[in-house]
């Protein structure tokens, strides 16, 4: 039981998952929606892990998901692998690719890294669209079988939200581990991290690969649920949406991407026209960056602090002042 109390985020998401799936079960439309929202939550979580932990503003998570989806499709359609085994491939393939790319770009500034991921995502998308014999080109692949006993939308809904809970569990474990601490130091000052004995490129690549594996598994379940995948299913547009949802929800907060996805998805459904989605996301992003840079969930501690009567001690800030002066 003690294992639960030190993982508050996992507890929260578990409660949310149980409640929301139970609610969604009442109506087949809601169930279907909630499966898709779940897939996007996973992709947003992967973006959050990449940005919030590795400091890599990744615009290729959609591409990683697409690789996972296509891997699932090809393994089950062409190689007739038993369902479930293809999850390993769907997660491992993007992870390996991400690890390789990260080694290349981790020495770049955050902005350059972001552009590199955008370029990579676009390259992957073009490749998938054109490798006709493997991926079915423009047409995509249809008839992807289900996952064994998971054969109804409700079961898929349960599965995806179980995956979300597992993802948050791993994310939380990472944050509480020496690696999570090391990643915090890296994001603040890489030289300091080196002086702590951290192999910076290796750790950043590992975190990025982890995020890619999560994205790949999102693609896996998407492919099996829709039973069809095409180059347009999970593309740069997906990466961008996931990124916007992550930043709006709060990229430095474990549950931020989840909050952002759910919040935006619910609101978007009330827009007068689907084409306005981009204007809405873009506008929301700009508002958040100005009004609440740490994201929607980032507002919560500020709110709680207001409610709290007792404040933390504020001693001399001599140390901070000396450093600021010394680095002028």
């Amino acid at each position: 039981m003690r294992g639960f109390t030190r993982r508050p985020n996992t507890m929260i998401v578990l409660g949310l998952a149980v409640a929301s799936v139970a609610l969604a079960a009442r109506d087949p439309v809601w169930t279907d929606t909630w499966v898709i929202v779940g897939v996007f939550v996973l992709i947003a979580l992967s973006t959050g892990i990449s940005y919030g932990q590795a400091g890599i503003l990744s615009m290729s998570q959609g591409a990683f998901a697409a690789i996972g989806g296509y891997a699932a499709a090809v393994s089950t359609l062409r190689f007739r692998l038993p369902p479930g085994i293809d999850l390993l491939i769907a997660a491992a393939l993007p992870a390996l690719l991400a690890y390789g790319l990260a080694r290349l770009v981790t020495r770049l500034t955050p902005l350059a890294t972001a552009l590199a991921t955008l370029a990579l995502g676009s390259v992957i998308e073009i490749a998938l669209r054109n490798m006709d014999n493997i991926t079915g080109g423009y047409i995509g692949l249809a008839g992807i079988p289900g996952i064994g006993i998971i054969d109804t939308p409700l079961k898929y809904c349960v599965l995806v939200w179980v995956m979300i809970c597992l993802c948050v569990l791993m994310y939380e474990n990472l944050v509480n581990s020496p690696f999570g601490r090391a990643l915090n130091v890296i994001r603040h000052d890489r030289t300091r991290a080196q002086a702590d004995g951290v192999n910076v490129p290796q750790l950043l690549s590992a975190a990025f690969a982890f995020s890619a594996a999560i994205a790949g598994s999102a693609g896996w379940i998407y492919a099996h649920y829709i039973s069809y995948i095409s180059p347009n299913s999970l593309d740069t547009h997906t990466s961008i949406s996931a990124l916007l949802m992550t930043v709006i929800g709060g990229s430095g907060i474990i549950l931020g991407p989840l909050a952002g996805t759910v919040f935006l998805d619910v609101l978007v459904r009330h827009l007068p026209a689907q084409e306005l989605q981009g204007m809405f996301y873009g506008g929301a992003l700009i508002l958040i960056l100005i009004l609440a840079p740490t994201g929607l969930l980032g507002l919560v501690p500020a709110l709680l602090a207001r409610l709290r009567v007792h404040r933390a001690p504020r001693g001399t800030t001599k140390a901070a002042t000396v450093e600021r002066e010394a680095t002028q």
Partner: protein, 283 residues
């Protein structure tokens, strides 16, 4: 031999558009250390407006629209600096949001149509090589703008202030240079040049609502190939990218051709050391 030359010529003409997009990218990076992701969107906006309003008036309105959108981004930039934002990525993210919003606006108002206009029905022939008149105009405009920018940067007071702001923002502030205003102006330049590029694309290959980010990325790629420092290098970088794209179109598959701008970005970033964050840092 003719075929190769024709590809190269075609590439040079198309590449001047990338060069035009690269110019404001490098300016903004130099003066503010960030990227305006919406440059491609300004181009898209201009192309869309010039499609519904014909003639020179349409072009004028189109560029005005692009500059207005860029001014919006400039305002957002100023607001963010005013509230104390220091992370360059935040400015880039905001421009990203604007890019997405503009593309969505275009989709909403104009649908998924492609914006393309035929300008000249005749192709010229020079020594047996087909040359498109529009392409010559593109190249001419690109070279002219590059020259004007060069003159601005190195022959005027404003240019000197811009270079000072780029070299040392805090020092420039202390010397009385209005750095924030210069940065705002750089965003406007992005609107102007992006809009111009959009018109040029409209009369060449055309584009649709999905093109904004690829154009931005193409502009960035062109800016970084030869180093993000001078206008001439941007134009040359754009031409290099255009030629690579044309050669790919002629000799390889459609897949590789589509990938060219992105591969450029990946290869140059991997090989370069844009602000080397780590190794070699002296503690």
């Amino acid at each position: 031999m003719y075929v190769l030359t024709e590809y190269i010529v075609r590439g040079i003409q198309a590449g001047s558009i990338y060069g035009l997009l690269a110019l404001p990218m490098s300016l903004l990076f130099a003066t503010a250390g960030t990227i305006d992701f919406a440059v491609g969107a300004y181009a898209l906006l201009a192309a869309a407006v010039a499609t519904i309003i014909a003639g020179p008036l349409g072009i004028a309105v189109a560029i005005a629209a692009a500059v207005t959108a860029a001014a919006g981004m400039g305002v957002i930039f100023l607001v963010l600096t005013r509230i104390g934002t220091k992370d360059h990525i935040v400015f880039a993210l905001a421009s990203f949001g604007l890019a997405v919003a503009i593309a969505s606006f275009i989709l909403w108002q104009f649908g998924t149509q492609a914006f393309v206009r035929a300008s000249f029905s005749q192709f010229w022939s020079l020594g047996g090589i087909r040359i498109s008149p529009q392409g010559v105009i593109n190249l001419g405009l690109g070279a002219l703008v590059t020259l004007l920018l060069y003159l601005l940067l190195y022959w005027t007071d404003l240019g000197r202030m811009m270079r000072a702001a780029a070299a040392n923002p805090s020092g420039a502030e202390l010397a009385g240079i209005p750095v924030a205003r210069i940065q705002f102006g750089t965003y406007l330049a992005g609107g102007l040049l992006g809009g111009l590029a959009g018109i040029m694309i409209l009369y060449s290959a055309g584009l649709d609502f999905t093109a904004s980010l690829s154009l931005t990325l193409g502009g960035f790629g062109a800016a970084i190939i030869f180093g993000i420092t001078s206008p001439l290098r941007c134009l040359l970088g754009g031409i290099a990218m255009g030629v690579a794209e044309a050669l790919a179109a002629g000799y390889t598959s459609g897949m590789v051709t589509a990938m060219v701008p992105f591969l450029f970005v990946l290869i140059v970033l991997s090989a370069s050391n844009l602000g080397g964050a780590m190794a070699g840092d002296r503690p």
